[in-house]
């Protein structure tokens, strides 16, 4: 790439950096170090607990995948310079709407899911529209929606069904093609074969005798991987990704060169709502019910994952892969402490320490990369 003749003399003040250092200094470094640290810790303290056998691994993989789904949405939105505090309430709301549409109103589940997606993405667009039109901080606008959506999520089932949990979704979703896309499992044959050759253990008696203890990859995990891939690709490999960085880095400078900043931001609010809805549908299909308290505090877990992953809270800088590692750390710590038999209240202590370490390291790395003061 550098065949062109050098017309400017090398600047003696631009320090040359080694390849190794270049490769190391990246936004995800904090997340990578955190992941290594966490895995080392649990391999040493909880190896015998079953955390790393097939079942244990699937356990923390699922929890991490849940975090990752909402973290990808929060990550792109944060890089575009905004927050969405309504993610948790949106999860509860979306799940409840699916239950009301399919169980109470008796709609086919696939229609219930599609309508819920449209509704929630519409609310995301409204969030974004209010933010860009009023210039209010998204923190405040989405905080309002945190309450509004949670209020409806409690009010609607109480008014319609006189309870706060609506069950029976499994019965109505049986055989539904779209429900399977969120609640099903894939690679079942492969896992059966793993069981047959003894790679993973099988049930020894009962109705499931002979079947592997882990019988496939839940669609939730596939969704997480797909969203991470798409998010990373869009951010780093497309024109739109450059607009996301620019909108969060400096909206005015971006506008001056013709970047449609408002559209970018609204689109990211819609994407965040989409991710929350994916989470909600997977959860509803797994539990077979919708509860008014679902998704509580998820917005903070998403934001924490993103920040552990190296994104800047004020926008313009971050990494989807980093956010995915943040989600992995979050999931492994939460489940690992359980396996290690640590008092569960210490989870918060552990998480706080990791958050602090990762953010300090990230800040240091970011300053090296961007020349920030």
């Amino acid at each position: 790439m550098t065949e062109t003749p050098q017309t400017a003399a090398p600047d003696e003040r631009v320090k040359t950096r080694s390849r190794f250092r270049e490769a190391l200094i990246r936004p995800e470094l904090g997340g990578i170090c955190g992941t290594l640290l966490v895995f080392t810790f649990f391999l040493l303290t909880a190896f015998d607990s079953g955390m790393f056998n097939a079942q244990g691994t699937m356990n923390w993989t699922i929890v991490s995948a849940q975090f990752a789904i909402i973290a990808v949405g929060a990550c792109l939105l944060m890089i575009a310079g905004e927050f969405d505090l309504s993610v948790g309430s949106m999860i509860g709301f979306a799940g409840m709407m699916i239950a009301i549409f399919s169980v109470t109103l008796g709609w086919p589940v696939w229609i219930a899911i599609l309508v819920t997606f449209v509704l929630c993405i519409g609310i995301g667009a409204l969030n974004g529209y209010i933010v860009v039109k009023t210039g209010l901080p998204s923190f405040i606008v989405t905080l309002a929606f945190l309450f509004i959506l949670r209020g409806f999520t409690i009010f609607l089932p109480q008014t319609i069904e006189r309870k706060t949990i609506i069950g029976g979704i499994r019965d109505v979703s049986d055989g539904d093609w779209l429900a399977a896309l969120f609640g099903g499992k894939v690679f079942k044959g492969l896992f059966q074969w793993f069981g047959d050759i003894g790679l993973i253990s099988t049930f020894e008696r009962g109705t499931k005798a002979g079947q592997p203890v882990v019988d496939g990859i839940p669609m939730l995990v596939i969704w997480a991987l797909a969203l991470i891939f798409v998010g990373h690709f869009v951010l780093n490999r497309t024109r739109f990704g450059n607009w996301i960085f620019a909108s969060g880095g400096n909206a005015q400078a971006a506008r001056y060169v013709g970047v449609p900043v408002n559209r970018v931001k609204i689109a990211m609010f819609m994407f965040s709502a989409f991710c929350a809805t994916v989470f909600a549908v997977c959860q509803v299909m797994e539990f077979g019910s919708a509860g008014a308290d679902r998704g509580n505090l998820k917005e903070f877990e998403a934001i924490i994952s993103v920040v552990i992953g190296g994104a800047l809270l004020t926008g313009g800088y971050g990494s989807v892969l980093g956010a995915a590692l943040g989600a992995l750390i979050f999931g492994v710590v939460q489940q690992g402490l359980f396996f290690a038999g640590v008092e569960s209240s210490l989870f918060r202590v552990f998480l706080g320490v990791i958050l602090l370490l990762a953010v300090i390291l990230n800040t240091y790395i970011r300053r090296m990369i961007t020349g920030e003061k």
Partner: protein, 259 residues
């Protein structure tokens, strides 16, 4: 003289009850550096923002290559070939030089239905253009935040030139810079002018203006006394006009001619 690229005729701009511009006329020709001088608050930024489509003039006419023109958005002005480099807002420090360079004009590479940001092309062009301007980057992915103020201005100027600007507007590109960086930016202006681009150079520093300017227009409290050619005016006269004549003469006397 050839036909001007842009003619601004009796431009007025009112912000509510504030009259920021009270009838300003300026012509911009290809291959010349037109300096817009004036003290803080004189209306320089407001004036060029009417030229670049950020503000709509309250009154007055803008002719672009002889035709009347109304820019609704900055994008229209950019597409017509009017590029503006704003002093603080030219670049995004957190982003790499090449991402900044192509911001809003990202090169696209198609893979079937998927269009991707062509990083390879962007990186190559960025490195080449930067070398032409005398800046050696560590790499195209170096963040703009690691560049000096003068280098950032130069990147912004190179970007405008690369995307085919006919008119380049620079809003106080030198006011926050040190001596050496200022010299670099001034020599960049000279290179750009030599390529036949019309440069509008805003400054309140007469020495910077004199170093590269061909014609000079002084704004004072939203008004102008007209435009002077380089050989028609002395630095002292420009300085006087900027401050509104009288008051400065008195002030200068009391300071012993050091202003």
């Amino acid at each position: 003289m050839s036909q001007p690229i842009i003619q601004m005729k009796n431009i007025e701009k009112h912000f509510g009850s504030v009259i920021a511009l009270a009838g300003v006329s300026v012509d911009i020709h290809a291959g010349e550096c037109h300096c817009l001088l004036g003290d803080n608050g004189a209306g320089k930024s407001t004036f060029i923002k009417t030229m670049s489509g950020v503000h709509k003039p309250t009154k007055g006419e803008i002719l672009f290559e002889g035709k009347p023109l109304n820019f609704a958005r900055p994008r229209d002005a950019i597409e017509a070939g009017i590029a503006t480099v704003y002093q603080d807002l030219a670049m995004i420090p957190l982003m790499s030089v090449s991402r900044n360079f192509f911001m809003g004009n990202e090169p696209i590479k198609k893979f079937g239905p998927i269009s991707m940001f062509d990083h390879e092309y962007a990186n190559e062009v960025t490195m080449t253009e930067m070398r032409k301007m005398g800046i050696n980057l560590r790499g195209p992915d170096q963040a703009v935040g690691t560049l000096s103020g003068g280098e950032r201005q130069t990147v912004a100027i190179a970007r405008a030139v690369h995307f085919g600007a006919k008119v380049l507007i620079l809003d106080e590109p030198t006011s926050a810079l040190g001596v050496r960086q200022t010299a670099n930016v001034l020599s960049t202006i000279d290179k750009v002018r030599a390529q036949g681009i019309g440069v509008v150079f805003i400054t309140h520093n007469v020495r910077h203006a004199m170093a590269v300017g061909d014609r000079f227009t002084v704004l004072n409290r939203g008004k102008t006394y007209g435009t002077a050619m380089k050989d028609e005016v002395s630095p002292e006269e420009l300085q006087d006009m900027m401050a509104g004549g009288q008051e400065l003469a008195t002030l200068e006397g009391s300071l012993g001619g050091t202003v």
